[in-house]
């Protein structure tokens, strides 16, 4: 019988389970993964994996770390960042930083998948049975320390509004007060470009794009962001994209629904006031 094993690395992943199972047209079990090194996770999961035809989890750095290891152990096909299910063996996924969409065919079972939840219906699992597993394997990796920089702000991946800043913010303190302050006035999450992360203006977990997080807010405000393909890869599915940039020819204006040519340092405070009125 065809069945999906849905893996939640985070509690928030759970709401993506029923929609993805529905797209596959099959039943599912859920498994809430404990926080263990990926080799341990994969070795334990490999013991029960062959009872399933699909093993899937929403795309995150955690799932992208652990699931390929599992696919490698099982020697089964793996598809990263699925955006739609065409048939039981055919999936669509972005390639080249989202510049193109590839259709791929898989050969073999179980198929290991990470997927972008926004392409699928949301809802909490109702009747799914929960798998429990005892973790007995030892890891060959020693975790020394872990930072969990909770920002007290909404989570980037699920936020309704995201405000992001780029290279011109220059310093971490400026980024925090200008972008962070404006975001807080809207109850928004904060994002950043790679240029901002690279230059230490913003922490790495805020990076949005091809190699960072994918966001799907109703409103995405990009301040001082040029609009590179790599950045746009992470924001394309936002409902409304607003761009504020001093350069009228910046590529971001080609993708933005609303654009304003102007200096973010004057525009953002004024916009904050206008939006409140």
């Amino acid at each position: 019988m065809s069945k999906l094993l849905f893996i939640a690395f985070y509690e928030s992943d759970l709401s993506a389970a029923p929609g993805f199972a529905k797209a596959l047209g099959i039943d599912y079990d859920t498994f809430l993964a404990p926080s263990v090194p990926s080799d341990v996770f994969a070795k334990e999961l490999a013991k029960i994996a062959t009872g399933y035809s699909y093993i899937a989890s929403p795309s995150s750095m955690k799932s992208k770390d652990a699931l390929p290891y599992l696919a490698g152990l099982l020697d089964t096909p793996m598809v990263t960042d699925v955006i739609s299910v065409v048939s039981p063996t055919t999936f669509k996924r972005p390639i080249y930083a989202g510049s193109m969409i590839a259709t791929v065919e898989t050969i073999g079972n179980p198929v290991v998948i990470t997927f972008r939840p926004n392409g699928f219906e949301k809802g909490l699992p109702v009747s799914a049975s929960t798998v429990t597993l005892e973790f007995t394997e030892a890891s060959n990796v020693k975790v020394v320390s872990e930072s969990n920089r909770g920002t007290g702000r909404p989570d980037l991946g699920s936020a309704k509004i995201v405000v992001s800043g780029g290279r011109p913010l220059k310093e971490a303190a400026t980024f925090e007060s200008v972008i962070g302050g404006f975001a807080d006035s809207l109850g928004a999450a904060v994002g950043a470009t790679r240029a901002a992360v690279d230059s230490g203006i913003a922490p790495n977990e805020l990076q949005v794009g091809q190699t960072g997080k994918v966001v799907v807010p109703d409103l995405y405000i990009a301040a001082g962001i040029s609009g590179s393909t790599q950045h746009m890869a992470g924001i394309k599915d936002s409902k409304v994209i607003v761009a504020i940039n001093t350069d009228a020819n910046a590529p971001i204006f080609e993708m933005a629904d609303l654009g304003l040519v102007g200096d973010l340092y004057t525009v953002l405070p004024e916009l904050q006031t206008e939006l409140k009125s």
Binding site: Y10, S38, M61, K64, P68, Y69, L70, A71, G72, P77, M78, V79, T80, T90, P94, I95, Y96, A97, S99, M100, I101, A102, T103, V104, T106, I107, G108, N140, V141, K142, S145, E146, S147, N148, G150, I161, V197, D198, P203, E205, Q210, T211, D218, L219, T229, K236, V240, I241, V242, A248, F253, D257, L258, G259, L260, V261, V267, E270, E274, L275
Partner: protein, 247 residues
């Protein structure tokens, strides 16, 4: 102490170039495209060279699996500072599992202590090969590395995570996949590339019997976004945002 570092690299279309599907959607149109080392792999090469400059790595072997033209990227890696290159020549388009099998083949003869490789390639964005190789070899792996410190057979890696950073320790032989913040690769001028021509590059045949389990059958452009508009001032912008009902 000897420490051989192996760095697998992939030839990819320049990540800053615009690419499109072929008219029949059968594949990506790469006619006339400029090719580069996958940026993440170039970071891996740079990291290996820095380890050698610090006197930690003793030899750097770069490996590529692909068309004959991949020699160009291997030569560039040699110019950055790798010592020798191996090209596993194949015209087949392969998925990550086959790449992992091919790399395993090379590991069995080269026996590196450390494998540094990109976390993903900018063409297929798969993010799989390193982890699959680790699973097949049974070696420890640290993905998404932002910092690497080697101390004898101990390697300490700062990894990027969904919520911040994690520090892990591994014992060699081990695999590390690189993230963008790890380093900024040096610029290599043309004379350096020409000089690297004398470094050894050997071509080998692929011997693995495994075949792709994921095959691309079609490529298309994503749906385009509706054309937007520029507004004249902040008041107009605020009004337009409110009108969309997205607050």
């Amino acid at each position: 102490m000897q420490m051989k570092v192996m760095v697998p690299i992939k030839r990819v279309v320049d990540p800053y170039a615009k690419v499109r599907p072929l008219a029949d959607g059968s594949a990506v149109d790469t006619t006339g495209a400029k090719f580069e080392i996958n940026p993440f792999d170039e970071i891996a090469v740079e990291e290996a060279v820095r380890l050698k400059e610090k006197g930690i790595a003793t030899e750097i072997v770069v490996v590529s699996i692909g068309k004959s033209e991949s020699e160009e990227q291997l030569r560039k890696a040699l110019a950055i500072g790798a010592d020798r290159a191996i090209l596993l020549e194949t015209d087949m388009v392969t998925d990550s599992s086959v790449i992992a099998e091919c790399l395993k083949q090379i590991v069995s003869t080269e026996q590196p202590a450390l494998i540094l490789m990109g976390k993903q390639a900018t063409d297929d964005d798969a993010n799989q090969a390193g982890q699959m190789l680790a699973a097949k070899l049974g070696w420890p792996i640290a993905t998404f590395a932002a910092k690497v410190e080697v101390n004898g057979t101990n390697v300490s890696v700062t990894r990027e995570t969904d919520t911040g950073e994690q520090v892990v320790e591994l014992v060699t032989p081990a695999i590390i996949t690189t993230d963008l913040r790890l380093n900024e690769p040096r610029y290599v001028a043309l004379p350096g590339i020409i000089k690297a021509r004398s470094k050894p590059l050997i071509r080998q045949a692929v011997t693995t019997e495994s075949s792709s389990k994921v095959n691309m059958t079609h490529v298309e452009l994503p749906p385009s976004r509706p054309v937007g508009r520029k507004v004249g001032n902040v008041a107009e912008l605020a009004a337009a945002i409110k009108e969309r009902g997205v607050l």
